[in-house]
């Protein structure tokens, strides 16, 4: 007993010589240690820093405003051929939504896939993750931290995209008294239109978050990063092709049934579903939210299960 106590004391002394002086305030601060050892906040900071350390993440962050510029240019050329009474006609208020609509399915979805492929599959399969796992942290918590970090990245991207396109809309596009919304959701003024845009962006963020969850599962299952990307692109292609295929069988269904089956795919929700939700067309608001929740729960649980039963020491 005595010798053991002594040796611990010696160790303390040894450590203290190298450790920076802890102030009294430091000592009083409660150290949160929940089971695993490292708090979730610190994991998140680590993952956040790791994400931004990548040159590809920085490039992707630049890609957001750049694609905004491209679609603003496209909308300007498109406006010349459109009747100002149509909801597709871009005005200062509707530019953020119109510019996001096409980029959501392509660029933003692709971004989610790259994030999942880079941060999960590549780090896990390449062995980079081992460094992080020197500390006693469960894989599940690391993956949760990664998911939150990617989600934050996406929110920032959407935010910058909104600011850029709204500014471009104000500067370059006509600003009428009021303009029509999609699917006969009424006419709105500029201010109301911006609120509509914000609601649109919130739903877009939700849809992207669900898509990110799906990709996180694919990234957990994929044996290499190229496989993950192949699976992800395959998922997007299938989600696009099945509704197209469905349109051949259009006469077989009633309108209500048809739109419900049509919006079972994440890509169609991103493409047309969000505007339909905001207009509450055919009671689609609840249905689409349900579909999103279903995808999120299914793939989220499968991801959790995958990481739970994976042997860290493989």
């Amino acid at each position: 007993m005595k010798t053991a106590g002594k040796s611990i004391d010696e160790k303390k002394g040894f450590g203290a010589a190298f450790a920076p002086d802890r102030t009294a305030a430091d000592r009083e601060r409660p150290v949160r240690r929940s089971g695993g050892g490292v708090g979730f906040g610190r994991l998140l900071t680590a993952e956040w820093r790791k994400l931004w350390k990548r040159r590809s993440a920085k490039l992707m962050a630049l890609a957001g405003p750049l694609t905004g510029l491209v679609s603003v240019k496209y909308l300007l050329s498109q406006n010349a051929a459109l009747d100002p009474g149509l909801p597709e006609y871009a005005t200062a208020g509707s530019v953020p939504v119109l510019a996001l609509a096409e980029m959501l399915v392509t660029v933003f979805s692709g971004m989610m896939l790259v994030l999942a492929g880079l941060t999960v599959t590549e780090e896990y399969r390449g062995g980079q993750l081992r460094m992080g796992m020197l500390r006693a942290v469960s894989l599940g918590r690391i993956m949760a931290a990664k998911w939150v970090a990617c989600l934050l990245f996406m929110l920032i991207q959407l935010g910058t995209y909104f600011v850029c396109t709204a500014a471009a809309g104000r500067a370059l596009f006509p600003n009428p008294e009021s303009y029509p919304l999609f699917y006969g959701a009424g006419r709105v003024s500029y201010g109301e239109g911006l609120l509509y845009d914000l609601r649109y962006y919130a739903l877009a963020a939700l849809a992207l978050g669900v898509l990110l969850t799906v990709f996180f599962w694919l990234a957990a299952v994929g044996r290499s990063s190229t496989v993950t990307l192949g699976l992800g692109i395959g998922f997007l292609l299938v989600s696009y092709m099945l509704p197209t295929l469905l349109s051949y069988f259009r006469p077989l269904f009633g309108t209500e049934e048809y739109v419900r089956i049509y919006f079972l795919s994440l890509v169609t929700i991103e493409w047309e579903g969000i505007a339909a939700m905001l207009a509450d067309l055919h009671g689609l608001r609840l249905w689409n939210l349900g579909v999103l929740a279903g995808y999120g729960l299914l793939f989220g649980l499968m991801t959790v299960w995958t990481w739970k039963r994976r042997d860290t020491f493989e």
Binding site: S56, V70, T106, G110, L113, V114, G117, L118, E122, R223, S224, S225, T226, V227, T228, L229, G230, I233, G234, L237, M241, Y248
Partner: protein, 265 residues
Amino acid sequence: MNKGSGVGMGNLIRSEAQRVFKRKRTWAVAIVYIVFVLLECLFLTMMNTSFYDAEHSVALNSLNTAPFLLRELAILMNFVVIPMLAADSFGGDVSSGALRLALIRPISRGKLFLVKWLVLGMLVGGLTLFTWAAGTVFAGIAMPPASETTLMGAGAVGRMGALGFSLGFYGVALCVFLALIGVGGVVARLVPNPVLAYIGILAVIVGGLYVSDALVFLLSVSDSIFHFLGRTGGSDASLGWILCALLAGCAIIGTLGWQRREWNQ
């Protein structure tokens, strides 16, 4: 043998083929593609119609079916199969370090690029040939028999004419695929990370649209080839020489780029 550069071309090809086929995902993606070929056949029997492009539909029969398999399959090929293979072969081998062992022998890097292109070309060529064969055989069995048919550009043709047309069609399609593999080699030279190389290849396919309408053939392979073979004019009339330019450009840029590559990075 073994004069000058040291290692014979045959051995290089054999070694590269071993690396490509050693990867389980090469087999997986090839099998997935073949399954989709069969599904596509099933789909065409259900529909009995297909499309030259968005405006022109066509009733299918035993002679004209073969080219239409590619309408959907080319998307799978261009967006999944080729980017995966190219990113793994051109990018993955470098960034994972698998190539170091091969490079112990004094091999010309430019030659290595061409060998990789050749091996992937043979693999994709095999898949294309399979698609053509499956389409031809399946059309003969399951589609309404016909002794004569009309094809865009070729007019009314008999059995041999239709066979020739479909072979020509798949030949041009193979050239498109080869060009895309070459693009993959150049992209992976710039960004060896397989994830980024994969996305880079997709970015070239989609971004090409913003550069020129004439590059649309990377996206809508079968429509463009029908337009090209049918001489309907428009932006696809230039497909022939653009394809040649793309192939030559990738060969030159790729070879030079790989030769100047710094391997000790």
